[in-house]
């Protein structure tokens, strides 16, 4: 039996991170569920053992079901029958397998039939599922919507919807409209209060909705008549049983074809308000998007891992000029780079997830009792880091995923271009990851704050203080040189200048290379198997940063005019 969890020791390694003990204790509230639920852990070791065992199930299903169905699902795709979306046959089997194994509702509390898993193992499951089938990772991953209901909805709504997640009800987040994509403040779908029916009514169009025919929909809509910006938007939950939404079409996409993306018309659809009016975009969707970005990053890392495995095994057996192609420097460089970029993305994925785990756990604790001053500070601190690390992560993981799939096809040569091999599908699937849930350009806009307010630098300084194995000290020296270079580049332009925005991506990436380099270096100190990737990635990052630094340094005043 193949297993995408047990065949990849890098995952278990992340579960053994020293901060996990704190994360699990916060999530399990000092293991108070133990006496009440027979599937609750008794202590830290027990919880980690649970994570391991459950991730083994995810790994087995991903390798033995999802991966085997993926090509056929990509070919067949979903269809509309009588205003209902019917998944491809393979997608239905994928969903059944994961549902019957109880793998929906992973992060929800046990009181709502969830598994009460911390984000780290939940995100890890998302990565593994994506390695099996990137398109299916959307349908499975949207269970994350439940987290927003859990955090912001009334107890009544939680009781109504949350236990259904573990039973396999799927979710969607309905945000985008024809004229509101990256700019969600422009959302027009109308929500009006219906006095007679004692509910809200939704009317309007949503476009590009992933898993369009989901059982439970979270909808962003304009509840405040006469408003035009984000402050007039509220957040609603709609139940599919009302049958008040028309599915106009399923989009014909480049990739992730198994995941139905639809255009919807809400026809006086009854819905319930989540949380408070006017906070839809500015509070709830922002929280939802951060979770979703983590999910897309996990999706990208899983796909990178799949691409690496395909390319590596092909290069090991393909012979040309009387040699295995893996022996040619131009080929082994590509393979080693894919490995290093995948390891680096994963290191950042779980570092960011740990930040999210801690601050989210504290938010939920605060719903039960007032936090101590230390806890409050800790929550704020981790939330700040999560807010700048999440866009940095999404930027790097999804851009690398594209690069990795591109290079993997190159390693396959002509065969990679053919439908006989899975590489072309992976390459197509990769392309959406740096577009949806905020394009790379939007991630730069969110992450540049970490450059401006010094948050990235403070983390870099923290990593600098970690004790490094003497055999790897040369890597730390390189990272320190890169840090000095980064500071020089960042200081060149006023933060209010157009040049600063123009070079934002270069500056964010420079910070990113240093952060990713440190994370890999620290991992390499804990485990030898990351040494190669640390060496390769830091050498690569140093060259990339030098290029950005040179471009910024040589950028003459007035040059920006030529770009306009």
């Amino acid at each position: 039996m193949k297993n995408y969890y047990t065949d990849n020791p890098a995952l278990k390694f992340q579960l053994s991170h020293p901060v996990m003990e704190k994360i699990v204790a916060l999530k399990e509230r000092q293991y108070r569920d133990y006496k009440q639920y027979d599937d609750a852990p008794e202590n830290f070791e027990d919880a980690i053992d649970n994570y391991n065992r459950v991730l083994e199930i995810v790994g087995e299903i991903s390798a033995e079901v999802l991966a085997l169905n993926a090509a056929e699902v990509d070919n067949e795709g979903p269809k509309i029958v009588n205003n209902e979306i019917i998944y491809a046959e393979g997608t239905q089997k994928d969903h059944e397998a994961l549902k019957n194994a109880g793998l929906y509702g992973m992060s929800l509390p046990r009181a709502y039939s969830g598994l009460n898993f911390a984000y780290v193992p939940f995100v890890m499951a998302a990565e593994i599922v994506s390695r099996g089938d990137t398109a299916f990772a959307n349908i499975w991953g949207l269970q994350d919507c439940a987290e927003t209901l859990h955090e912001f909805a009334s107890e009544e709504i939680k009781q109504e919807f949350l236990p259904r997640i573990n039973q396999g009800d799927t979710c969607s987040m309905d945000l985008t409209e024809p004229d509101a994509g990256s700019d969600l403040q422009a959302v027009q779908l109308k929500a009006t209060w219906d006095e007679n029916a004692n509910c809200w009514r939704l009317n309007g169009v949503k476009r590009f909705i992933t898993n369009a025919d989901a059982d439970i929909k979270l909808v962003l809509a304009r509840s405040e008549e006469g408003t035009a910006d984000g402050r007039g938007l509220s957040y609603f939950v709609y139940d599919r049983k009302h049958k008040a939404v028309t599915i106009r079409r399923i989009e014909n996409k480049l990739g992730i074809k198994g995941s139905p993306t639809g255009e919807l018309v809400f026809n006086n659809a009854p819905a319930q308000l989540v949380g408070e009016r006017r906070l839809g975009l500015i509070k709830y969707v922002m929280s939802l998007m951060n979770g979703a970005r983590l999910g897309v990053a996990a999706q990208a890392v899983g796909l990178s891992e799949a691409a690496y495995r395909e390319a590596h095994s092909y290069a090991l057996q393909r012979e040309q000029f009387g040699k295995k192609i893996v022996q040619f420097p131009q080929v082994y460089e590509m393979i080693a780079n894919i490995r290093a970029k995948t390891d680096a993305s994963r290191a950042l994925l779980y570092e960011t997830t740990r930040f999210v785990d801690i601050y989210k756990a504290l938010i939920f604790i605060a719903q039960e009792r007032p936090l101590t001053l230390d806890e409050k500070n800790e929550m704020k601190q981790y939330q700040k880091f999560a807010d700048v690390f999440t866009p940095l992560l999404k930027l790097f993981a999804t851009e690398y995923c594209n690069q990795n799939c591109y290079e993997a096809i190159q390693i396959f040569g002509g065969s990679g271009y053919m439908k006989d091999y899975p590489m072309e599908r992976m390459y197509r699937d990769a392309r959406i990851t740096n577009i949806y849930e905020g394009t790379s350009q939007l991630q730069v806009i969110a992450a540049i704050r970490g450059v401006g307010n010094g948050l990235f630098l403070s983390k870099i300084k923290e990593y600098e203080g970690v004790e490094i194995d003497s055999k790897l000290i040369h890597l730390k020296e390189k990272l320190m040189i890169m840090t000095a270079q980064y500071l020089t580049s960042v200081a060149k332009f006023e933060t209010t200048s157009e040049e600063y925005d123009f070079h934002a991506r270069r500056m964010v990436e420079m910070a990113g290379y240093i952060i990713l380099g440190y994370l890999l270096l620290i991992d390499a100190c804990r485990c030898d198997s990351f040494r190669n990737s640390a060496e390769i990635f830091i050498a690569y990052g140093q060259a990339e940063n030098s290029r950005s630094a040179a471009f910024i340094h040589n950028f003459d005043t007035g040059l920006i005019e030529k770009y306009r």
Binding site: D38, N50, R53, V54, I61, G102, L115
Partner: protein, 284 residues
Amino acid sequence: MIKIVVLIKQVPDTRNIGKDAMKSDGTVNRAELPAIFNPEDLNALEVALSIKDIVPNVEVTAITMGPVRAAEVLREALYRGADQAVLVTDRKFAGADTLATSHTLSLAIKKIGNVDLVIGGRQAIDGDTAQVGPQIAEKLNIPQITYAEEIVEVSENKIRIKRRLERGIEVVEVLFPCLITVHSSAAPCRFKNAKRVMKYKKACTISELQDDKKESDTDNNLIIEEWNAADLEAYPDSLGLAGSPTKVKKIDNVVLLQKESRIITSSEKEIQSLIQELSKEHIL
């Protein structure tokens, strides 16, 4: 209520054997081979669980005869959906052939009482005899359906089964109680369930509790029943080695040498002749 007993066996994984799989005396080197859930017993468990999906009020009990460590496959049956499990274990059972094994298991099934359906895999991958299931049916004096592949229909008192035979399929119907042995072409077993794994990983037998010096977790009702020869009220002469008329006379260690290999070119003629030869030898 329909009471189903699923017979399972922990076996050495003979599917991926290396050079140390056999000892020099010709017996299986169990230490070298991982112990697994016998594959066709997984198919049998799935048949039982799928009946539970279709008909209300079904109770599935997994049962195995073996050493204390065989409780591992019982836990796995619980992870996948069995309601309870029984370990039949005693030093007196050691060395049992199919006759002694079927005798012991039939006593255990009688002890459970009022069983409607006994379901097992067609055969185990260590002995490959396919005899234990049919012998149990004889001892319990109930009808048997072998080579089962699919449930066509099931109700509270009867079942209709599709059998996979050498030259086709056969559909038969039988009233409860009866015994079914399941073929590998039947549906694969469902995956483990996350919550069940987290719950039943703590399930153990009394012997395991004593070995680990753990305290009994009776609150959670996570004790796996354990029965010995005395519990089954069995005659010592009919158990284990004493109750096994099968005696191994001689074991040949077949060693394949490279000189016995032949190179076949990819020409149409040579491939055809190879196919004919393999077919004549009943290998294909």
